[in-house]
């Protein structure tokens, strides 16, 4: 007899062997694990793309923050500064520059063509950071030193074939073009196309004749501070006075914040797509490994028979999952970087900073770590089940798993998953409440899907005997028999459908929001800054060119002083309502783009003197105003008390004048105002002739040829739409992978049964019918529930997050439902077809 080791002490196997064993076990399961890796790749790629893009943009904004404002502080007003304010401002900063800007038509004398531009009359050494980039280089300095010099936007120069040395006329004064303005602080490609800039020295402004009453001039002071703490002190001291005087200020920090906010919707959506892709990835990871471990039952039991400890069995699969998580995350991160470059190319036109094309190592690191973490976390429930596999399973396959009275480790894992989803949601949302709502919704969806799957199994069990056809009975009974995957499939298919459909609906809402209506009867030219005395004459001029006056509306500039007696100064309130000026109008009837959604609209000042204004419902929500609230408007110094009488839904995408606040008639008729006239020009020739006539007769009136603007804006919006759709489709692709992986993994459970049926003489057609019945029923229930959940989620998201109206697009929703069902059935059928074409004995012997 050989020497025996009589001790029960276990010699621990080394990690090297566990690693080797994990590799050995994984190498023959590549196709199965490919689905697992795909879920990680897609989820992490979407996330890294969005994070890296955001990270780069934030860093670029940070790096270029000062050149965005060009100064440390900018103070702005729409009216001339009072003597008191001017005196205070004169003491600020170490250097000061002054600018007056306004929209005006310029006339190229060489070819008599006109164009609306943003005229900036400048005095001082602005910009202090960055530069006015010009061609030739010295033009930035020359335009101030030569007699009536000007810098003209490069695009406009190209458009009108103008060269340095040519002359332009602004108001009644002509200027010599010293060079083209290639770039100015804070200016993006898109802003220079929509509102091109022309710089002139401030000293000539008066002589242009454009500063008379009625001109909408913006007054700006730029300050340079050598000492940033001095700036903080000044701001702290003067902020109340600036607020009181209605002055707007901009610092490097506020500019950064403003740029960030302007991309809020898109970045919110991008983050949401990334998050949803990741969540789908998590579902894919969890479900694929659950079935994978089930299939490993005998292997694990045999290893346990041979002396492998529970912990070591667990570690082998943990190592495998970690390795796959690393591979998936790294591939995902690299894919994400490629997508990020693509996002940069798309966005570079309308972000006022130079976007750098470099990978964000932070985002990559974060993505890889997150990928590995979720790989482990979401597979832990399945991995922990390894502990429950008894070695007895090697000799008796039907044996149930070891039952633990209370598996605290499993409960802790579920808690961790919940905490992770909650914490990660918090990063994407504005606050914990939103994150909690999101997580509760996911939990609620899981619960509903769980309940539906139980109901499905109950109904099938009760009703299956009523089918006379064996094939139907077999197909349906697959849904509740042992080893059924009904619960896992219903939850994963249902949840994937919910997320895919929600993403589709939300992207539709966002895309619709940025699309412009281009109805034939809509205006394509706007004339504004028309003074009350010029109103009828401008209208007559339009008619003389046979142009229709589609709309002519008065515009009054106001501010909100108080809401329900509360002013902006009060602490602890949301002061958004009191910031900035509002352009309002008065009218007796609503336009076709407006619809009262709450309250009533009379259109006239009440007999008892009460003034009921109408607020756009989204605006009312943002400033927390409700029907019946008292608002005091400051109409250029005169306080006017009003009551919120109605809320309106406004279609902002219509190319017409829309207002957040509308007054009834009989209130603002005598207030200082200008008018806007909208018309439709039939051709470029008529447009040019009419613009020429307007500029000759009414030099203060500005004309926007919307044809050009619409084209530029539509190009821009189609790019945004494309990004939104691209990211959404990326996340949806993850969803499809999860769906396919869920069906494929569940299908492997059925393969031996199919072979047995084949052995017993079932035809291919019969097996197909059984498979189709099972998966169709499952798909209809799971996808149907998913679609219904998604409609609720989309409604909630559009109402509370994206602030948009929600209408169910029946055909696309039905298409998603049918596609999901089709994919499930097709995947089920295709995965069976290989088995059907293999001799049964090969599989029975396996």
């Amino acid at each position: 007899m050989q020497s025996k080791n009589t001790s029960t002490a276990y010699k621990k196997v080394g990690y090297a062997w566990l690693l080797k064993m994990a590799w050995r076990d994984a190498r023959k399961n590549r196709s199965r694990l490919f689905l697992f890796v795909s879920s990680i790749v897609l989820g992490i790629a979407a996330l890294v793309a969005v994070y890296s893009f955001k990270d780069n943009m934030e860093r670029d904004i940070d790096d270029q923050a000062k050149t965005l404002t060009g100064a440390d502080l900018m103070v702005e007003s729409r009216k001339p500064f009072s003597a008191n304010i001017a005196q205070v401002l004169s003491r600020l900063g170490d250097e000061t520059a002054t600018e007056r800007s306004f929209a005006s038509m310029i006339n190229f004398l060489k070819n008599e063509q006109s164009r609306l531009v943003q005229v900036k009359a400048l005095e001082g050494n602005f910009p202090y950071y960055g530069a006015l980039e010009t061609t030739p280089l010295n033009a930035a300095g020359r335009f101030k030193s030569v007699e009536r010099g000007a810098l003209v936007d490069r695009t406009v120069m190209l458009q009108y074939n103008a060269k340095a040395g040519d002359s332009i006329k602004i108001g009644s004064l002509s200027f010599v073009i010293c060079g083209s303005l290639d770039k100015a602080p804070g200016q993006s490609g898109i802003s220079s196309t929509v509102a091109p800039v022309v710089y002139i020295p401030l000293k000539y402004l008066e002589q242009t004749g454009l500063t008379k009453i009625g001109s909408r001039i913006q007054y700006k002071y730029y300050f340079k501070y050598k000492n940033s703490s001095q700036l903080k002190q000044d701001l702290k001291k003067l902020q109340p006075m600036f607020d009181k005087e209605g002055l707007d200020i901009e610092t490097v920090a506020s500019k950064k914040e403003r740029i960030g906010k302007s991309f809020q919707d898109v970045s919110k959506f991008l983050a949401l797509s990334g998050f949803i892709a990741l969540l789908l990835g998590c579902i894919g990871v969890g479900s694929s490994i659950q079935v994978y471990i089930k299939e490993k039952l005998t292997t694990i039991a045999t290893l346990r028979c041979l002396g492998l400890r529970v912990k070591e069995a667990f570690l082998i699969y943990l190592i495998q999952i970690t390795g796959l998580g690393i591979i998936g995350s790294v591939i995902g991160a690299l894919t994400g970087i490629l997508i990020q470059f693509f996002l940069l190319v798309i966005f570079k036109d309308f972000i006022p900073v130079e976007l750098s094309m470099q990978p964000s190592w932070w985002a990559i690191g974060q993505g890889v770590l997150l990928g590995v973490f979720i790989s482990i976390l979401f597979t832990l429930p399945a991995l922990l089940a390894v502990r429950n596999i008894s070695p007895l399973n090697a000799i008796r396959q039907s044996l149930e798993r070891i039952k633990r009275s209370a598996d605290y480790l499993l409960y802790a894992t579920y808690c961790l998953i919940l905490i992770f989803v909650l914490g990660f949601s918090r990063l994407q949302m504005n606050n914990w409440v939103e994150a909690a709502i999101f997580c509760s919704s996911i939990l609620f969806a899981c619960f509903i899907l769980y309940a539906i799957s139980k109901l499905l199994m109950f109904l099938v069990r009760k009703l299956v005997s009523r089918f006379s056809s064996y094939l139907y009975r077999q197909g349906f009974s697959n849904l509740y028999r042992p080893n059924n995957q009904t619960l896992m499939l219903t939850v994963s298919i249902g949840l994937s459908t919910t997320l895919i459909c929600t993403l589709f609906l939300i992207q539709g809402i966002l895309v619709q929001r940025v699309q412009l209506s281009s109805s034939k009867s809509q205006a394509n030219m706007i004339l504004f800054d028309i003074q009350s005395g010029q109103k009828d004459a401008v209208s007559a001029l339009a008619k003389s060119y046979r142009l229709p006056v589609i709309a002519q509306v008065p515009v009054i500039t106001v501010r909100i002083d108080k809401i329900n007696g509360r002013s902006a100064i009060g602490k602890g309130h949301d002061n958004r309502a009191f910031q900035g000026e509002l352009r309002v109008t008065f009218q007796d009837t609503l336009t076709s783009a407006e619809k009262i959604v709450k309250g009533t609209w009379s259109g006239r000042k009440e007999k008892d003197g009460k003034i009921f204004v109408s607020l756009e419902d989204g605006y009312a929500r943002r400033i927390n105003a409700k029907i019946g609230d008292a608002i005091i408007f400051n109409v250029q110094g005169l306080p006017i008390s009003t009551i919120v009488g109605s809320l309106r839904e406004v279609s902002w995408t219509r190319m017409q004048t829309n207002f957040r606040v509308v007054f009834p008639t009989g209130v603002l008729e005598d207030a200082p105002q200008f008018h806007v006239l909208m018309t439709k020009v039939p051709s470029n020739t008529v447009s040019a002739k009419f613009q020429g006539a307007v500029i000759r007769e009414f030099p203060n009136v500005s004309v926007i040829d919307l044809g050009l603007v619409i084209k530029v804006v539509e190009d821009l919006l189609s790019k945004i739409s494309f990004v939104i759709q691209f990211m959404a489709s990326f996340s949806m692709a993850t969803g499809w992978v999860v769906l396919i992986s869920a069906v494929l993994t569940s299908k492997s459970q059925r393969l031996k049964e199919i072979v047995l049926l084949r052995t017993l003489g079932a035809s291919k057609k019969q097996i197909m019918i059984i498979t189709i019945v099972e998966y169709t029923f499952l798909g209809v229930f799971a996808a149907g529930t998913g679609v219904l959940l998604s409609l609720s989620a989309s409604w909630a998201l559009s109402a509370f997050v994206f602030d948009a109206a929600f209408a169910v697009p029946f055909i696309p929703v039905l298409s998603i439902f049918l596609s999901v069902c089709l994919i499930i059935v097709l995947t089920g059928v295709l995965s069976s077809s290989k088995t059907l074409n293999t001799p049964p004995i090969q599989i029975l012997n396996a």
């Binding site: 007899m1 050989q2 025996k4 080791n5 009589t6 001790s7 029960t8 002490a9 276990y10 010699k11 621990k12 196997v13 080394g14 062997w17 064993m21 050995r24 076990d25 994984a26 190498r27 023959k28 399961n29 005998t298 292997t299 039991a301 045999t302 290893l303 346990r304 028979c305 041979l306 002396g307 492998l308 400890r309 529970v310 912990k311 008894s390 070695p391 007895l392 090697a394 000799i395 008796r396 012997n845 396996a846």
Partner: protein, 230 residues
């Protein structure tokens, strides 16, 4: 020298609880097996053979009674300690071969030794495969081997950790007569060479007759324990 008892079973009872009802699968089973003995456990289906094998090999724990293997009382061991006993003292041969499908034949044989932390085991594993006539198939996966070949790899694996006792659960139950004969012969030869105690659970009377002793079970009780005349 008196014979050494390698496996001692005393008052062994196993009761399964299912849906509030108890099912006694084994009841007060007693026997002892000496080192080097070959024993067959026979009985009709449902007589408790496989349950008894599971308890003897430390794969399951008894409701009452004791199992002492190679001087170690298995009843008081934790699951990990039982795993150590299996690795150090026991070899297994299964009806369904239970080769790990993702490992090659060679790797399957190496696993028990690797689990013990032994180094340079490839050569010994190859020797074992050579003994079972499969040296040239060492890098094949189980799926690429016939049933008989799989069971021969299983035999090589069972002897790879030089077990004190070998448990075989219907070792030829899935094989045809000719292959069964070859596998049986190989099993007894290897056992004889290694001097291992062999416990076979089987329906096969002929196989049972090749052992020194037959323990018959019925209804969870030992109804006969007889020595085979050679």
């Amino acid at each position: 020298m008196p014979p050494i008892i390698i496996l001692q079973i005393e008052h062994l009872t196993k009761i399964y609880l299912n849906a509030g009802k108890s099912l006694t699968v084994l009841e007060d089973v007693n026997f002892a097996i000496n080192a080097g003995e070959t024993v067959a456990i026979t009985g009709p289906s449902g007589s408790g053979k496989t349950t008894l094998l599971g308890l003897c090999a430390g794969l399951d724990s008894a409701s009452s009674g004791s199992v002492t293997l190679n001087g170690i009382a298995l009843n008081f061991l934790s699951e990990d300690e039982r795993a150590a006993v299996r690795n150090n003292h026991i070899g297994f041969i299964f009806q369904n071969f239970q080769l790990i499908p993702t490992l090659t034949a060679l790797e399957n044989v190496m696993v028990p030794m690797e689990l013990r932390g032994q180094k340079n085991v490839t050569r010994y594993a190859m020797d074992l495969l050579d003994k079972v006539g499969l040296a040239d198939r060492s890098h094949h996966y189980p799926l690429q081997l016939s049933g008989g070949e799989q069971q021969r790899v299983s035999l090589a694996r069972a002897f790879s950790n030089r077990p004190a006792i070998l448990f075989a659960d219907e070792p030829t139950g899935n094989l045809d007569a000719e292959t069964s004969e070859k596998v049986e012969k190989l099993m007894f030869n290897l056992n004889s060479d290694a001097g291992t105690t062999l416990v076979i659970v089987t329906h096969d009377t002929e196989l049972a007759l090749r052992t020194n002793r037959v323990i018959k079970l019925k209804g969870g009780k030992v109804i006969a324990d007889q020595t085979n005349a050679k």
